[in-house]
């Protein structure tokens, strides 16, 4: 792999990761994206899912995100994540709590649009549970 990608993973509370990597897979709301160095500028929203960070010669590191944004500029990739935990620390109980939370959101939603959005989130979380 020729060009390295500078990758920042930030949550509202702190900067989680800032380093040179070879590839990052990002769970975009319209499909997963693999981003490498020299990618065209993109701005995308994220669905709940897993971010994979690949550095050559090292095992892939995976993080769970609850949603957020990804921004690719010529300078690199920035992920503004809403809530992030390393996948190894995410267990069934935590995921179940996330799902319960999402179900609550569906029940609470006031407008149709909000309900639909909450429902999508819930479905994505359930899909994620199947996948792990």
């Amino acid at each position: 792999m020729a060009e390295k990608l500078s990758f920042d993973l930030v949550s509202p509370e702190r900067l989680l990761l800032s380093e040179q990597v070879d590839m990052v897979t990002v769970p975009g709301s319209e499909g997963d994206m693999g981003i490498m160095g020299g990618h065209a500028p993109v701005m995308a929203t994220l669905r709940p899912g897993v971010i994979g960070v690949v550095v050559e010669g090292q095992p892939e590191r995976r993080y769970f995100v609850r949603g957020g944004f990804a921004e690719v500029t010529p300078a690199g990739l920035t992920v503004l994540a809403e809530h992030t935990v390393p996948l190894s620390e995410l267990d069934a109980a935590a995921l179940a709590a996330e799902i319960a939370n999402a179900e609550e959101d569906v029940a609470d939603a006031k407008s149709d649009e909000a309900r639909q959005r909450a429902q999508e989130k819930l479905d994505q979380l359930k899909a994620l549970r199947e996948a792990i």
């Binding site: 500028p41 701005m43 929203t45």
Partner: protein, 293 residues
């Protein structure tokens, strides 16, 4: 003239007070450091959020389909005033200067015939505004039991605000908090949250001629981004407030400790003088008694 015993008690009590204020000052200093670290750690996210916002919003600003959170409802009749203060007192003029600014703003709006609703964050702000505007306070938040304010609390508040906005309960929201300049100086500040004011000085990144690809569409992203931005702004304000509170408390307690020290010095002098006076008086009585014989 107070008796010697009274003076002794007085000195002891001032000394006890001094010990307390000294301890409070040290606690505030330690907490201030933590609060500053938290504020620093939150900065990268807020900075990048500003940048993304600037990129998106400049493109959307003039368009008709711009979301209401950005463009406003077209009216400013109903105003929501969010006042963020500390939960505790004993921090100098910190709380009162925030609520003074808020009160001026509220009175001006009322004078203009606007409808004002108030949301308070922090116990002191509620207490201070309750006297004048009790009927206008729609909701109050307190975080007294909490060790450290997290993003979850900010999200909580912003959710309430968004729900109210979507229900059409207000048109414009303004947030009052204290900007942390440095340890001795906190500036009460007003910031307009809805419609979103664009971050100043944040410029879009130079893409070298390339154009952003949006996924999903620009307006969809903005729809997600704006509520998030609201939480981030509130979170930032809360963190600055916490740092400011401890900074103010530190200098207030430092002053109190010094005042107590001065007072002890003065009381000690008075005590010594009156003790000396009493001894002299007794001596005179003995001598004049002996001379009379």
């Amino acid at each position: 003239m107070a008796s010697l015993k009274d003076l002794r008690n007085r000195i002891a009590s001032v000394k006890a007070t001094q010990k307390i204020t000294k301890a409070m000052q040290m606690v505030a200093a330690a907490k201030l450091r933590r609060a500053q670290e938290a504020a620093e750690a939150a900065r990268p996210y807020a900075e990048r959020m500003d940048r993304v916002m600037a990129n998106l919003a400049t493109g959307m600003a003039g368009r008709d389909d711009a979301p209401k959170l950005l463009a406003g409802t077209g009216s400013d009749q109903v105003q929501l005033v969010i006042v963020a203060t500390a939960d505790r007192g004993l921090c100098g003029g910190f709380n009162s200067s925030i609520s003074r600014l808020a009160r001026q703003h509220i009175n001006r709006l009322i004078g203009e015939g606007k409808d004002v609703k108030i949301l308070t964050v922090g116990r002191k702000g509620r207490d201070l505004l309750k006297r004048d505007f009790a009927s206008r306070i729609v909701k109050s938040y307190e975080f007294t039991g909490l060790r450290q304010i997290g993003f979850a609390q900010a999200e909580d508040i912003s959710k309430t605000v968004l729900d109210m906005f979507e229900a059409g309960e207000f048109d414009v929201a303004t947030l009052f908090y204290s900007k942390f300049v440095n340890v001795v100086s906190q500036v009460p500040t007003a910031q307009q949250l809805i419609p979103a004011s664009l971050p100043e000085g944040a410029e879009g990144v130079d893409l070298g001629g390339a154009v952003y690809e949006y996924e999903p569409e620009e307006s969809e992203i903005l729809k997600e981004l704006l509520p998030r931005n609201l939480s981030v702004q509130i979170f930032r304000a809360l963190l600055e407030n916490v740092a400011g509170e401890y900074g103010a408390k530190m200098s207030a307690m430092d002053n109190a400790t010094r005042n107590a020290g001065d007072m002890i010095k003065k009381l000690n002098i008075t005590y010594n003088r009156s003790r000396q006076a009493q001894i002299t008086k007794e001596l005179i009585e003995i001598i004049s008694g002996a001379e009379a014989l």
